[in-house]
């Protein structure tokens, strides 16, 4: 075995893992705080999955509708999250998002404009007012490119195509991590006082997902292994509109912007079915006739929003119900029609990438025909449990922000809240980690035994004579999760899933890949399996414990929300005997926030609370 002195080692104050929106924003903040900052990312810089975000970033700037303010945004977020959100995080998010958007503009982002020359804002599901700052339907690309172009001048060091394997600890606290460069297969040690995870979710545990290969739950797996707590893992968001056809692109996202700009959902009988699925809680704020929905689209402020713009969980369940009742489209989805609602040139201008995506991948012209869409696993509301203000996990020195952290979105995330989440909490994580790093002062010694054991378990995969095929094991896992831990869950299915995961665990232990360690796709996949499996197990066990249906978690055997279940979050932690799952009681929210969240909308518009 190689001695520690011969392993490539870099030293930083703070290491950020992940270079999506949250990671880059965190790294920028660390640099601003004078930290020597390193960024480790699995892909090339600027390729992270943030580019896939289409619709926009929610911020109550009130540029389009002056009645909007942070309180309304906060209320929308809490209601959308079925009151499972951490109150303080939802508050911070709603308060700080407008500043983060303006700051982004100063760094070079070029948003679409209003007639007055301000940042334009669009309607989106669950948002009371037009609130999403956007650039056509490629807002995520704009965000990441802006951060990237700004970040490269801040003095951080970026380690591209470098995958983190595991964290290093000294007693309780973090001292760095071990990773490898994908290009060469060479191992590397990063010494740091603080590590910020911005690693995204674990969508790749499912078969139909809008996530890319990077979404293998690295942050969950590493944090869990290092002893951190994961929370709300049962809340997985299925985006209602993923592409359904052709099979090779199944799951790729169709932006909610299509509905925000007037698109409607139809079943195979041509019925606009969403009117049948309006939950009582939202009935007062949703249009009940087609006519009213149309008036809203034309900008009538007295009209209520059409039901296609209900929160994602509601729409995803409605589509599933229609398909199960035999009213689905040819390939098992619903029909999303914008062609009959807007002129072709408006569609091409407002939704250029959607137009492009369907034209090139689906051979379909969305200005002429409806799209076939169905639910696709999109987002993890849950993740690493963090302190609300500093974003520190339960392990000192480990911070998390973005999708891999928990708490901001509760049981269901509103579209558009993700991009603003990245910026708000990316910055806070940067601040938190910098403060922490300053308070630590001197760096501690790296434990050689830990490093070598991490490296050994990675190289074992290449040195086996015989073993399981990582591609097949992954496919197996995806099938299990898709089938048993899908959009609608039951105790029986979750039990089956647990058994299946135990079986797959054995296959993962025996996984083998051919060839050398240089840019070896099979080896990379094999290394991802552990984290995927931890994520899958956490979701399954948390889902089993939550005996109700709420937001992104639907139990066929426990329909509807239950009062007593609203009192706790579910937390997952590594124990002596494997994964431990427990309920953690939610704290009583501050009176002022409670008042805003339950206020009548008219009162908030007048800022009267």
């Amino acid at each position: 075995m190689i001695p520690l002195s011969e392993i490539l080692t870099y030293e930083h104050d703070v290491i950020v893992v992940g270079a999506g929106g949250a990671g880059l924003r965190a790294a920028i903040e660390c640099c601003k705080q004078g930290m020597n900052t390193g960024v480790v990312c699995k892909s090339l810089l600027g390729k992270a999955h943030t580019v896939m975000a289409e619709g926009g970033m929610a911020a109550a700037m009130g540029n389009v509708d002056a009645r909007d303010n942070w309180k309304v945004h906060f209320r929308d977020t809490m209601r959308g999250g079925k009151f499972m959100n951490q109150w303080r995080m939802a508050e911070l998010h709603a308060r700080e998002a407008p500043d983060r958007v303006r700051e982004l503009e100063e760094w070079g982002a070029v948003f679409d404009r209003t007639k007055e020359g301000l940042i334009s804002q669009r309607n989106f599901g669950g948002h009371r007012y037009p609130r999403l700052a956007h650039v056509g339907d490629r807002t995520g690309l704009e965000l990441i490119r802006t951060l990237q172009d700004y970040a490269i001048h801040q003095g951080m060091k970026v380690y591209m195509e470098c995958t983190a394997l595991d964290l290093l600890k000294d007693g309780d606290r973090i001292t760095g991590l071990v990773g490898y460069f994908r290009e060469t297969g060479r191992f590397v040690v990063f010494k740091a006082n603080a590590v910020i995870f911005a690693t995204g979710g674990a969508g790749k545990a499912w078969k139909i997902t809008s996530n890319s290969w990077e979404y293998t739950g690295d942050g969950y797996g590493m944090a869990y292994t290092a002893g951190a707590e994961l929370m709300d893992m049962e809340f997985t968001q299925f985006h209602p509109t993923g592409m359904v056809w052709p099979p090779s692109v199944r799951g790729i996202l169709v932006t909610e912007g299509v509905r925000g700009d007037g698109g409607i959902l139809l079943n195979n009988k041509g019925e606009r079915f969403m009117f049948k699925y309006v939950p009582p809680k939202f009935a007062a704020e949703t249009a009940d006739t087609v006519e009213e929905g149309n008036r809203w689209l034309e900008g009538d402020k007295a009209a209520r929003r059409p039901p296609e713009l209900l929160t994602r969980d509601v729409v995803a369940r409605a589509i599933t119900a229609e398909v199960n009742a035999g009213r689905g489209s040819a390939h098992g989805g619903a029909l999303l029609d914008i062609a009959s609602r807007r002129p072709a040139d408006v569609i091409r201008k407002k939704l250029p990438s959607m137009y492009h995506q369907f034209k090139e991948l689906g051979e379909l012209d969305i200005t002429k025909e409806p799209m076939e869409v169905g639910p696709t696993l999109h987002y993890f509301m849950g993740g690493i449990r963090v302190d609300h203000d500093t974003q520190q996990s339960t392990v000192p020195g480990l911070f998390a922000c973005g999708e891999c952290s928990a708490g901001m979105h509760g049981a269901n995330r509103l579209g558009g809240n993700s991009l603003s989440d990245l910026l708000v909490f990316g910055r806070l994580a940067g601040l938190g980690a910098s403060e922490y790093s300053k308070s630590i002062g001197k760096k501690s010694v790296t434990d050689e035994k830990q490093v070598l054991s991490i490296i050994r378990s990675a190289t074992d995969i290449l040195n086996l004579d015989k073993g399981t095929n990582p591609y097949l094991v992954h496919e197996d896992l995806q099938n299990v999760m898709q089938r048993y831990v899908g959009i609608v869950r039951s105790a029986d299915e979750l039990q089956t899933a647990k058994n299946e995961l135990e079986r797959i665990k054995k296959d993962v232990a025996l996984v083998k890949s051919d060839g050398a360690s240089q840019y070896n796709a099979g080896w990379h996949k094999a290394l991802d399996l552990r984290n995927l499996l931890i994520s899958a197990e956490a979701v399954t066990k948390a889902a089993e414990m939550r005996t109700e249906s709420r937001g992104g978690h639907t139990r066929i055997d426990f329909e509807g929300e239950r009062e007593e279940c609203a009192k706790y979050n579910i937390v997952v932690k590594k124990g002596e005997q494997g994964m431990e799952v427990r309920k953690v009681e939610r704290r009583e929210p501050p009176e002022t926030l409670k008042k805003i969240a339950y206020a009548k909308i008219e009162d908030l518009e007048r800022e009267g609370v």
């Binding site: 810089l45 390729k47 404009r113 099979p247 090779s248 692109v249």
Partner: protein, 246 residues
């Protein structure tokens, strides 16, 4: 369902050769899907770089039947059915392994470019820009940095001018900064000298291969060339500036 033949270059910077594969093609499959099937079935260690698989991240650039393209946006049924599909890594950049190239040169170019230097905000804390003022730069900002334009540009590909020319990608990056209504910096001298606008002979291959259909040549490079002319080559403009200060 039909089997299709593939000829994929396998190797690293020291050399390599084409290897033959075949795989079953289902409806709607793109070249990247076929590569994934080949990986899973017969070449587990075949290196390919990819991410979003929806033409938005620009990772999976390669040369397909001799043309620089995104493999995730090239449908199998768009390639002649009886032909073997040839896959190669980008020619302009050093090969790392198989279909993966080292594109770090591009990242170094961007660092050399002076970033946006915005003017102060309006009194109410906002910036005001009209849509017609940002339409032009929004086109350039569609760029997904797939570097296909850099790959196909003969100045970089064949003429060995990587030290003197930043390539089409960064010409439109420069254009997006120069035309930015908020920007106060002046990059025209560097565009001419360090970034080599004169080396582009506007043969438009960059525009032809752009998967985002950005009109790189007409809307980006030529306007920059014209701005350089204003500053350096137009005698009347020179006299005007010299004697009238405009």
């Amino acid at each position: 369902m039909a089997k299709r033949q593939f000829k994929i270059w396998r190797g690293n910077k020291n050399g390599g050769e084409f290897a033959n594969y075949q795989t079953e093609i289902e409806p709607g499959m793109v070249v990247l899907d076929a590569i994934h099937s080949i990986q899973a079935e017969s070449a587990g260690d075949l290196a390919v770089r990819w991410n979003c698989k929806a033409g938005k991240c620009g990772s999976c650039s390669m040369e397909i039947n001799g043309k620089p393209r995104l493999s995730c946006m090239t449908r199998m049924n768009s390639l002649p059915a009886n032909e073997t599909v040839t896959l190669q890594p980008l020619k302009t950049f050093p090969v790392i392994k198989d279909l993966v190239t080292d594109v770090s040169w591009n990242y170094r170019q961007k660092e050399k470019i002076q970033p946006l230097k915005p003017k102060p905000r309006d009194a109410d804390g906002n910036y005001r820009m009209m849509q017609e003022d940002v339409d032009r730069i929004q086109e350039f900002r569609k760029c997904i940095e797939c570097f296909l334009c850099q790959d196909v540009c003969h100045v970089l590909r064949d003429q060995d001018q990587a030290n003197n020319f930043v390539g089409p990608r960064f010409m439109i990056y420069l254009a997006s900064l120069e035309m930015h209504p908020l920007d106060t910096a002046d990059r025209i001298p560097t565009i001419r000298k360090e970034f080599g606008s004169g080396l582009c002979n506007i043969t438009r291959c960059c525009t032809e291969v752009c998967p985002e259909h950005i009109n790189i040549t007409d809307n980006g490079i030529i306007p920059l060339k014209e701005r350089v002319v204003d500053r350096f080559y137009d005698p009347v403009m020179w006299v005007k500036r010299k004697f009238f200060g405009v």
